[in-house]
Structures are given as structure tokens and as C-alpha cells.
């Protein structure tokens, strides 16, 4: 049985990875999952300087999902390289670092440093809905996105370049195409969908940030649809994200056109979710007589 997949030039031992922001820096989960089992670990978004994040409440449960507005709290590039990356290097898994900046210059600087430090892939975070500056403004403005991706492309030598797309646009295919044309090796989708919840007693928003990003099974059909659409638009590999809770969900994304899947909210509910999803995929392949996971990719039957 072959579970190996390729994201650009990066070979993953299997298609199960983690979604940025849901897996900390990997160490938080290391007592629940053998990180060696995972195709890749994508760590929390890293900015140039440490970020404090948003005030609380930062999360709120919704039907079949949750809203979050963490605001990209992270240790910053320097501490990441010094304290967090060495831990991950001990494992036989690929390391993907989610990168965010307030300007193209910042994105380039962080990416250059990570590339120099030898991380396997860089995922450009242009789709976080919870911070005012940077982030999503790149992901929802095609011109800016093209410029950003090509500048980072020029600066990055070895690391594979992934662009994480926002679903909060009129047509995600346009942005996937722009990322591909600008030199991105892959796209990951979707980031969270902007949402809001109100406490009807206090008549106040349930999140201090007012709005937040919706994740979990509630958004899976949207994500599957977008992966399906993007698969028919670009040639670069797609990492499917959005409400992957079990192996069936992961398989569904692959059939829609994803090369790999990233597990997000499920990690919060069950810290061993990634491994269980992988095991379930193997079982499915045995049952369905599938020799190579890649043979499933994009096989959704539409006339």
C-alpha cells in the first residue's frame, strides 16, 4: 500500500497533516500522538515579532463547530527558531511553518529565515480573518496576493511554498490561480469562514473581537466544494482543510481533489485524532482495494 504523496518537491510519508493554529508547536500534542506517524506538522502562524493576540473571550462553540478569534498569538520568529523548531526536528515528519506578516517585506524576511533554517515548507497565511493589519488583506486582494507570493517565491530557495487561501472571497478559484501563477508550489484551503455569535441575554457578541473564524464539521461541505472547484482550476497540489473529523472526511477531500488533508478542530476534541484518521484511511484502502492513495485523488464522478 502506498500512502506517500507529494506537495511540490516535498514528499510526505502519508497525506495526514495538521492545520496551523490547531496543533500548537507540535510539542503540546507529542504525548498524545507519535509525531513520527504524521505526514507533516504545520505549526502555528509565526510573525516577525511575538504577538499577544486578542482579548478574551477568544473562542465560542457553535452548532457543529466553533468560532475563534485568537488573533495569532505566537512567540515570534526568533524564539520559534531557537526554542520550538529544535523540538520538531527530533521527529521524522515534515515541518511546515505558517507565516504571517504586516507587509510583503515582513513575509519575505520571515520566509527567508525559515528557508535558511531548513524548514520543509512555508505556508503563507493570507487568510486569517481575526487581525486587522496584514493577513487577510493579502488573501482577498488578488493583486496584492500575486505580488506577495512572487516576492516570497524569489526569496525562498529550498522550502516548498504553500499559499493558504481564504474562503471569504467571491470566487476562490481566482485566488488559487493567482497563487499558482506567482509560483506557489501548492495551495491549502480553506481557512476559517468569518462568522459571529451573539449572547441574546447581554446582547453582546460572544467574542471580544466581535467576529471570528468558523471551523469544524459545520464548514466541511463548503471546504469540499472549494477543493473540488480549485482542483479543476489549477495544476498544483491542494491541501484540503475544513472540518476533517475522521477518515471518511479525509477520503472525501481526496476524492474531491486534495492531495493531502490537514486536521484542525478535531485535534481539540480528540488530541489523537490525526493518528486515528490515518489508521482509518488505511482500513478504507484495504477494504476498497486501493493500492495507492493518490489514485483516489479527484475521482469524484461527475459527468
Amino acid at each position: 500500500m502506498n500512502l506517500k504523496v507529494k506537495i511540490g518537491s516535498l514528499e510526505l510519508k502519508n497525506p495526514v497533516m495538521t492545520a496551523s493554529g490547531t496543533f500548537g508547536y507540535g510539542e503540546e500534542y507529542s504525548e498524545f500522538v507519535d509525531l513520527n506517524d504524521l505526514g507533516a506538522v504545520t505549526v502555528k502562524g509565526i510573525s516577525l515579532k511575538p504577538m499577544e493576540g486578542n482579548p478574551t473571550p477568544r473562542i465560542c462553540e457553535t452548532a457543529c463547530g466553533m468560532l475563534n478569534a485568537i488573533g495569532l498569538q505566537n512567540v515570534g520568529l526568533k524564539i520559534f527558531l531557537k526554542e520550538k523548531l529544535p523540538f520538531l526536528r527530533k521527529y521524522d515528519t515534515k515541518i511546515i511553518v505558517n507565516v504571517l506578516g504586516n507587509s510583503i517585506k515582513e513575509y519575505v524576511k520571515i520566509s527567508e529565515n525559515l528557508d535558511g533554517a531548513g524548514v520543509d515548507a512555508i505556508e503563507l497565511n493570507v487568510s486569517c480573518p481575526n487581525v486587522k493589519k496584514g493577513g487577510i488583506s493579502f488573501g482577498t486582494d488578488g493583486k496584492m496576493l500575486g505580488k506577495l507570493v512572487s516576492k516570497v517565491r524569489d526569496a525562498v530557495k529550498k522550502s516548498v511554498l504553500i499559499t493558504k487561501l481564504s474562503p471569504n472571497v467571491s470566487d476562490i478559484r481566482d485566488f488559487a490561480r493567482i497563487a499558482e501563477d506567482a509560483g506557489s508550489d501548492a495551495v491549502s484551503l480553506i481557512n476559517t469562514i468569518t462568522g459571529m455569535a451573539i449572547d441574546i441575554k447581554t446582547r453582546k457578541p460572544r467574542l471580544a473581537n466581535i467576529t471570528g473564524g468558523l471551523s469544524g464539521p459545520a464548514i466541511k461541505p463548503v471546504a469540499v466544494r472549494m477543493v473540488y472547484e480549485v482542483y479543476r482550476t489549477v495544476r498544483i497540489p491542494i491541501i484540503g482543510i475544513g472540518g476533517v473529523m475522521n477518515a471518511d472526511d479525509a477520503i472525501e477531500f481526496i476524492i474531491a481533489g486534495a492531495t493531502a488533508v490537514a486536521v484542525g478542530t478535531a485535534n481539540f476534541i480528540n488530541p489523537s485524532a490525526t493518528k486515528e484518521i490515518l489508521d482509518g484511511m488505511v482500513k478504507y484502502m484495504e477494504l476498497e482495494n486501493i493500492e495507492d492513495i493518490s489514485s483516489l485523488k479527484g475521482t469524484v464522478g461527475v459527468e
Partner: protein, 217 residues
Amino acid sequence: MVEVNKGFDPILKRAFSLFRRTSDGFQILYRIIGKGTSVLRSMKEGTEIDVLGPLGNHFRAPKQNQIPLIIAGGIGIASVFPLIRKLEGRAYVFYGARTGKELFMLDELKTISKELVIATDDGSAGEKDTIIGVLNKFLKNRPSLIANYSIYSCGPRPMLEKIAGISAVHDIKAYVSLEENMACGIGACLGCVVKTVNGHKRVCREGPVFDIREIEW
């Protein structure tokens, strides 16, 4: 973190404090406040649920020369209860709620506390006062021992904030167990942070118990 549901609605585990160990497990004490706890209550006896824990830190018992004052507001009693038991009759316990019906474990609390002071907003049990009111009275009546007091508390945030004030005014050491919305419980989601003098800290990991002077109220 306790699973309250096998399906996806509600989807998240709920954070509870370990209320009491039993011979074959442990108990939690909870109040029904929303969807999660309602579903939890409707569960049939014998249902298997997933539990992740114990997580985070806990109250540290005070030294022998210290006089522990334990202050619980509402369901906050659940998180200080193990400490009261551990202290075996050494603790002065102040326990308040909106109404007498919301007070639990009173008989046992009486036997395991040095002194149990009850207050309710409506006066249906104990004194008709807030728990802060009765605490202030207590401190006023026994000022000579203030240097030996240490406070341990769990309850609504406004109550804890007032305790922070009392702790500062009288220079009494105080520790509080905090609550925040939590998703993962293991320090990854950063949903449950609290603002401290040393930046954001995670209630699930560095807490839930904090030195009261560390918190930015």
C-alpha cells in the same frame, strides 16, 4: 476535559475540576448552565465517555503556620472542595450563592471545615450578604491574625476581582482558580488565556490556579 456528547453538537469537551475521588474513579460537580451541561445530565448511567486529564495545576496546601481562608462563589465550590478536605478541619470556609438552593454539600462542608460561613443574596441560607461582605466582616473582627491568612478561591470573576482588592489592601497571599472558554485543554488552541503581569497565560496549562497578584484584573 470531559466529553459531553458523542456527536458534533455540542462538539467541544468541557473543563471541570476533579471534585472528589471515589474507589473506582472520580466525581465532578456541575451546574446546568447551557447546552453541554444539559446534554451531560441527560446521559444514561453507565454511558462511557471520553475524559482527558488531569490537566493543569492545582491549589497547593498552605504551610502549617498559615490559616487558610477558602472562598467559594456558586459552583466554584467544586474546585476548592478537594483542598478543604485535604486541610482536614483547618480551613475557614466562606461559601456564597444567589440562593440557598444553589448551595451543595453543606453537611459535609460543616464537618470538614474549621468554620463554615454561608451567605446568599436573598438571605434564604446563612447571612443575607455577599461573600465579600462576610469576608470583610471576618477580617475586621480578627485583625491580629491577618499576617497568617492565605486565601484560596474560585467563583465568578467580579468576586475574584474584589478578593484581589482585599488581598492587596491587607497584604494577604491569595490564589484563585480561573475559568475561561476552553477548546483543547492542553495548551494548543490558546483560547483560554488570561492577562497576567507576565503576558497572556493559558488557564488550561499554566493555570487554572494563579497567584492573585499575577492576574491583570
